[in-house]
């Protein structure tokens, strides 16, 4: 058994893939709905997007807590020092963004005067009062953070592909449930 077979625990793995799935739904939805003319469909999509986002935020809080109280499996010994640094920074930035992106959306929503009611059932408090200019500023912040998230996720996936097919150190196995990989 190589040292690489050490995996994240099941909770961390489940949270990772759940958040990934939700982001892969919420992100394109956000891009698509944004330019639609006003219609019932648009209002529905906005709600779905917000529900997904708040779910990501909740799971991200759990993930951050879990990550800060659990030691992740070691990186392969073959990795260069710079790879350790970049990996660590990327992961910390990803954690920050999965918190900041939905939070900025929530704040934007409040500033624009639309409360977020999670799944149409649980009303979230408006952390900001209605303020048109602040709402527009937060819309830019939300977009900017999303662009950063998009780039980092692309980098994250590119790294997985590089490690699997070029370096062949199969770093992906750390984040796969037991039995899927081999």
């Amino acid at each position: 058994m190589s040292p690489l077979s050490a995996r994240y625990d099941n909770i961390a793995i489940t949270l990772h893939w759940l958040v990934a799935l939700l982001i892969f739904a919420a992100f394109p939805l956000g891009v698509y709905m944004h330019d639609l003319p006003l219609s019932p469909t648009k209002l529905q999509l906005y709600s779905y997007h917000k529900w997904l986002g708040i779910t990501v935020l909740m799971l991200a809080v759990v993930r951050a807590l879990w990550r800060s109280t659990h030691t992740p499996p070691p990186l392969p010994a073959t990795l260069q020092r710079w790879e350790h640094v970049v990996s660590h920074l990327t992961h910390m930035a990803l954690y920050a963004l999965i918190l900041a992106v939905p939070l900025s959306g929530w704040l934007m929503s409040s500033a624009k005067g639309f409360q977020t009611v999670w799944f149409g059932v649980l009303p979230l408090p408006d952390l900001l009062g209605k303020d048109k200019e602040l709402g527009e500023l937060l819309a830019l912040v939300h977009q900017g953070l999303n662009l950063a998230l998009f780039l980092l996720v692309a980098m994250h996936i590119a790294a997985v592909i590089k490690h699997r097919f070029i370096d062949r150190d199969d770093i992906l196995a750390r984040m796969l449930p037991k039995g899927i990989n081999k």
């Binding site: 006003l38 219609s39 019932p40 469909t41 209002l43 529905q44 906005y46 709600s47 624009k112 005067g113 639309f114 409360q115 977020t116 009611v117 149409g120 059932v121 009303p123 209605k130």
Partner: protein
């Protein structure tokens, strides 16, 4: 008619403490408001009409003579979002071009308790007129009187939001209308 008289008398008895008859009829436009509340995808939202005129004549001691008419400039609507403000003026919503004014004309008001009344009348929106009734409170201090009331209408009764917008799971059918009218008194006829 007898029933009517009884009500008026009851009203007089309830208001027995107010000896001086004052007729409240000067509406303060700047202090008055017509707002509405509704739900969109389960999210509570509020809006208001910025332009309306109210003609009111109200003497708590002479309810049978009370008159009220409120005309609302539909295109003065503020739904809270510019996109929606534009949308709701269109044909599917208010059709503001053909029906620029929504109006309420009171047909009667009766006392139901201390400072509490039930106003009835006809509400016309988008060419449709329906009978409504609304609980109203009236608080007077000196020559300044304040009416507060609200009622809930079903937007589809007035065809407000047709076509795809008729789906009430997106924009709820219930729209709560709230009015706050500040009316100053002139000394009434004896």
């Amino acid at each position: 008619m007898i029933r009517m008289r009884m009500m008026v008398m009851t009203g007089l008895l309830l208001l027995g403490g107010q000896a001086t008859a004052l007729e409240f009829k000067q509406v303060s436009a700047t202090e008055s408001s017509v707002t509405f509340a509704y739900k969109q995808m389960g999210v509570p939202l509020e809006g208001k009409f910025n332009q309306f005129t109210a003609q009111i004549s109200f003497d708590p001691a002479r309810l049978n003579l009370a008159q009220a008419r409120i005309d609302i400039g539909v295109s003065s609507i503020d739904t809270g979002s510019a996109e929606a403000d534009e949308e709701v003026l269109g044909k599917l919503w208010f059709n503001a071009k053909s029906h620029p004014v929504a109006s309420f004309v009171a047909s009667g008001i009766r006392a139901v308790g201390a400072n509490r009344y039930e106003a009835t009348g006809r509400l016309s929106i988008k060419g449709k007129t329906l009978d409504i009734s609304a609980p109203v409170t009236f608080q007077a201090s000196g020559t300044r009187g304040v009416f507060d009331g609200s009622f809930t209408l079903k937007r589809l009764d007035y065809a407000i939001g047709e076509g795809a917008w008729a789906d009430v799971s997106t924009v709820a059918n219930d729209i709560q209308i709230r009015f706050h009218l500040v009316v100053n008194a002139t000394s009434g006829k004896k």
